[in-house]
Symmetry: C2
Subunit: 331 residues, 2 copies
């Protein structure tokens, strides 16, 4: 248990996963490369709210804590630079669990090229994690929500609803039965659970878009990509972008992929899982048609699912209700 380690013991546990910058009251990260801006984001994860022993191993908790923050950097078009992690732990937390969290966190950072530069470990009656991520973006190239324009096409970088399906399978093992006879059933179930436990930040997407833009000589120099990630659900992302940009959206409903397996599990709720399930950590982007079409050609599983329209009609998004949208404080 961590209470047997004491603070110095906990520091020793933490140390192998840290960059050499750790050891003072704060980490000195160095200077920014010329022409780049600092990007900062923070996310908190609570035991029983954002993860639980039933659905997420310690390693997965660590991975998720890193990945959700890296997804925010990806959503800004930023490249990871460094991260801090603060852990609140009951004194009875098994030491293995804490090491597992650091290991999963480290694995994700290594995969996506970041480093752990600071932390805090404190006593708490309930497990909580807080991660802050830093990245850099070329001057003027940050992706933001408020720059969507009428005529832009709405692109998603992958399928939605998979994380929700994985979570439901983890919470309700009896759902497996709905997939009796489903082709490659075990692999499909594993892959859905994995979507929930090990989300993939789409750091690959913004560099690809800028390569496409550089090929297309008619793009003005001050061009900005509009978008965000779909961590709180696909519908939420579209609504947030529309609200921030003062525009509306017309969705091509037939283009919104509902994976066959989700239809098997969710039945008549399948479209809700896709729209409101959340935690898929794809990017939702608004791009001029030529860029959107080239991107979708090159990026497997991406799709054009609608277009940005003026906000003349009553609805922000034609035909879309937000009642099911994820509310952290729903009880």
């Amino acid at each position: 248990m961590v209470k047997d380690l004491g603070e110095q013991g906990l520091l020793k546990l933490f140390r192998p996963f840290c960059s050499d910058l750790v050891g003072d009251d704060a980490a000195v990260m160095g200077s920014l490369p010329e022409g780049r801006e600092l990007v900062v984001t923070t996310d908190m994860l609570i035991d029983g709210v954002h993860f639980s022993d039933a659905t997420t191993s310690a390693e997965d908790v660590g991975w998720r804590a890193a990945a959700v923050n890296l997804s925010d950097l990806a959503a800004m078009g930023a490249t990871p630079w460094g991260m801090t992690i603060a852990l609140g732990l009951p004194p009875t937390t098994p030491v293995d669990w804490v090491t597992g969290v650091y290991r999963g966190f480290d694995e994700c950072l290594r995969q996506y090229g970041s480093q752990l530069v600071g932390g805090d470990t404190v006593r708490s009656p309930h497990i909580c994690l807080s991660v802050t991520a830093f990245g850099t973006v070329a001057m003027g190239r940050a992706i933001q929500r408020h720059t969507a324009k009428v005529g832009d096409l709405i692109v998603v970088t992958g399928n939605h609803g998979l994380s929700k399906a994985g979570l439901e399978l983890l919470l309700h093992p009896e759902l497996d039965e709905k997939l009796a006879g489903y082709s490659q059933r075990d692999e499909v179930i594993f892959s859905l659970k994995r979507s929930h436990q090990r989300p993939t930040p789409r750091l690959d997407v913004p560099p690809l878009i800028w390569r496409i833009i550089e090929e297309q000589l008619n793009i003005p120099e001050e061009f900005k990509i509009a978008g965000m990630d779909s961590s709180d659900g696909l519908a939420d992302a579209i609504v947030q972008i529309c609200q921030a940009s003062g525009v509306g959206a017309h969705l091509y409903w037939s283009e919104i992929a509902i994976a066959e397996v989700i239809q098997f599990i969710a039945e008549e709720n399948a479209i809700d899982w896709v729209l409101y399930g959340g935690e898929d950590f794809e990017l939702v982007l608004c791009l001029p048609a030529s860029i959107a079409r080239t991107l979708v050609d090159r990026l497997p599983k991406s799709a054009i699912i609608g277009e940005i329209i003026g906000r003349d009609s009553g609805d922000l998004i034609e035909g879309l209700t937000m009642e099911g949208a994820f509310q952290h404080f729903q009880v």
Copy 2:
């Protein structure tokens, strides 16, 4: 209660205290001024561990959350740039309490010239706060723990034990009686409680030291200030610096101020409160004699309390035991 607000309502609460940078998945901070490095620190505060309704109002919780992080920046010689705050809240938390935290946080940031650039608010069974602060420091001028040298004098920037005394008075109102007849008793009690509730990050000290260094022409260009803050206690700070620098310390016991009022309240434990009480958020610095003496001349309440010696003797610090040192996981 926050559960009546929902996520959008909570965002509205948060918004007035944020810089304009907030509104996307992450904040774009801009580029660093030339010749400056990024400094990053994080601290987590837990209800019942680091604060409680008995000792700390919501405003004080917000202030403390900001101040402990600013103290880490001060300890690095850095100037504040921006901060993020993540809040875990039970759904039944009063909205006024949350607003109070933001107000106290904001008050501290305004006073010391920082800005709130990001946050996260999530449901949690227990109140927790996590703050990450970043600042900038001139290239090569970061204060660190590992550069103390034999012959350096050990300087504290103020008195120790006051925060501990304030905490004890808040927790045990009957201690007031020990100060019966004490001159200006009410003011003294208020001031001690304030030391605990509203700690002052010593951001004023590093610039003063660099001004002194610039006056003293014999200081080599690559000179580095060694030190840290005394958040975990005066004794802990000295031990950490000695361990990191591979040196020992000889303390001038008679120079370690024990405020008369602490002797009244703590009686025979007074020296323990001073050495191990913690949370005074002063700086403990190791400086060449000429700089140390000039600093102490100019900085009220600062003192030279010892010198750095070789680690030849058995004890790290002559005559000092670390048994009482603050351990977050002590039960």
